[in-house]
């Protein structure tokens, strides 16, 4: 790698060795897995979203692949906040020596529950708390996600900010008419950063079974199919807010990562690309990004940020 190039990323004052990070819900179910992904080259890792009580998740099929991506309705399976705090503590000590920050992910059915879970997880001292207000797969239980409405999104943000000190990332949904409006609302409510996007609500029907493939019927699309949606959302958010943005959705190579940053992302989340490449995808993407930067004479990732807005 060209020694003149730095991939170091500053996210809300926290140093990431590179701008790629593991998105929530992909492999982040245990401390050992989070460590494995960090060792494989991720610049930060996000744990699976946790709720107050343990959740079994939906029955199978819960995750399927198709040509252009994945469709999932895992249904937020997790061991509950207290057990999750244990996983996070364990992960934090494993990650410390690697210099890879840890992002905890919070889910709740109400603002109060979000705040409660956030408090429990914050005790494990992760570097960030991410609020998953945008899961499209638990609507039957919880109704429309908070991210569907600017007011509701702001309220959750405020409730959590009131009880924790750690920087708070709010994860937004693409399944709205105006994501920029939601971004503005959570920024005003005190969010330290935005993550965009969670999955795009979708469905697949098996025509020979004449029924939806996912047991939950609806699910979230991720992977290459949604990259243009994610890039558009990040672009719109960048124009609307001044807090940093984690760009997530369909990134599977270094040029995709550069595209996200040019749209306005400070860091780039990677999920479904693990499907093709395993955890090694992080090292590959980082390498491709550095090669691109050398070719195009960028010396730091910061120089790329928002470049497509000029």
């Amino acid at each position: 790698m060209n020694p003149e190039i730095t991939l170091e990323t500053n996210l809300c004052g926290v140093r990431l060795p590179n701008p790629t990070l593991l998105a929530s819900g992909i492999l982040g179910t245990s401390a050992a897995l989070l460590e494995r992904v960090a060792r494989a080259g991720a610049g930060a890792v996000t744990a699976k979203s946790a709720s107050l009580e343990p959740r079994a998740g939906h029955p199978n099929p819960t995750v399927i692949s198709w040509e252009a991506g994945l469709l999932n309705a895992v249904g937020l399976a997790n061991p509950g906040a207290t057990a999750q705090a244990g996983i996070l503590r364990d992960a934090r000590s494993k990650l410390a020596t690697l210099g890879v920050p840890l992002i905890a992910s919070v889910f709740g059915g109400t603002s109060e529950e979000f705040a409660g879970v956030a408090q429990v997880l914050a005790e494990a001292e992760p570097d960030f708390l991410e609020l998953n207000i945008s899961c499209p797969n638990v609507g039957d239980e919880f109704g429309r996600p908070f991210a569907a409405d600017p007011q509701a999104a702001a309220e959750v943000t405020r409730a959590v900010k009131a009880v924790v000190d750690v920087p708070v990332i709010v994860k937004l949904s693409p399944n709205v008419a105006d994501i920029a409006g939601v971004a503005r609302a959570v920024e005003e409510a005190g969010a330290d950063a935005i993550a965009a996007i969670n999955t795009v609500r979708g469905m697949a029907i098996d025509v020979r079974a004449a029924r939806p493939v996912l047991a939950n019927r609806f699910g979230g699309l991720s992977g290459p199919a949604i990259k243009p949606v994610a890039v558009r959302c990040v672009f719109e958010c960048f124009a609307a807010v001044s807090i940093p943005i984690i760009g997530i959705g369909g990134v599977s190579n270094g040029l995709d990562a550069a595209e996200m940053m040019m749209a306005g992302a400070t860091a780039v989340g990677i999920g479904s690309a693990v499907y093709q490449n395993g955890p090694e995808v992080f090292a590959r993407i980082t390498h491709e990004l550095a090669t691109f930067m050398t070719e195009e004479s960028y010396r730091s990732v910061k120089e790329m940020r928002g470049a497509a807005h000029k």
């Binding site: 245990s30 999932n72 047991a215 395993g278």
Partner: protein, 241 residues
């Protein structure tokens, strides 16, 4: 998803009872797969679960009736439909001239597949079937038809040698040439075979199970404590001597 359907819809071509709780299902589907690989079988409205391939052309599955999903499958008749995606995971690799294959329960299925593939090489496999009691012993004839030596071990001695499979395997290692170990079955059996392999400095390949969702290394459901993913890194784990 149609143009690129996630599952193959197929029909059950044949059902063969192996014993009181195990049956073998042959489907009208051919896959290109290696022994040790598995598929996800979906019964719409019921569940989707991992099952090892006993053969891939046509796809053949040997399934123990243990709970709601496997019961629903056992209730399907010839001509009825099931849905398959896969194959997934990494299969067994060939090591050594005199492999000893240790099978517990429906673990005989991938090892029968493996035996067929090994016989196409210069290897001379021996099979050891472990079971609680005689009525749990299956596949003796299937292995016999392949002309491989078959040892049987039962906990109660009601068939073959009395003893746990790893112990009976240990005796076999002392009495005949064994160059490598393969095992598929309950985890305590795998642990026993792993210990045996270390003791005798033999390379071992052990096939593990965990609850699964995606089956392709994304969701993290199937991770072992050390972060090893049964679906993607396995299900076969290599223990070098």
């Amino acid at each position: 998803m149609n143009s690129q359907t996630s599952h193959f819809a197929c029909r059950i071509e044949r059902v063969e009872r192996e014993n009181y709780r195990v049956a073998t299902f042959t489907l009208d589907l051919a896959l290109d797969a290696a022994p040790g690989q598995f598929v996800m079988l979906w019964l719409p409205g019921v569940e989707e679960r991992p099952l090892s391939l006993m053969a891939c052309d046509p796809v053949t599955l040997t399934v123990a009736r243990v709970g709601p999903f496997t019961t629903a499958l056992h209730e399907r008749r010839t001509g009825e439909r099931v849905w398959v995606r896969g194959p997934y995971g990494n299969g067994f690799r060939q090591t050594g001239e005199h492999p000893l294959l240790v099978a517990g329960g429906y673990g005989v299925a991938p090892l029968l597949f493996l035996t067929r593939r090994l016989q196409a090489t210069s290897a001379h496999p021996t099979v050891l079937i472990g079971a609680r009691t005689a009525r749990d012993v299956i596949f003796v004839e299937r292995f016999g038809a392949l002309d491989v030596p078959v040892l049987v071990a039962t906990d109660d001695g009601s068939q073959g040698t009395q003893g746990l499979a790893p112990d009976v395997a240990a005796r076999a290692i002392e009495s005949q040439p064994v160059s490598s170990l393969y095992a598929c079955g309950p985890e305590p059996m795998l642990d026993g075979v792993a210990a045996l392999a270390r003791r005798h400095r033999l390379p071992a390949q052990l096939s593990y199970e965990r609850k699964m969702r995606c089956a392709f290394g994304v969701c993290g459901t199937c991770a072992r404590d050390d972060g090893w993913l049964v679906c993607r890194d396995g299900p076969v784990r290599f223990e070098e001597p």
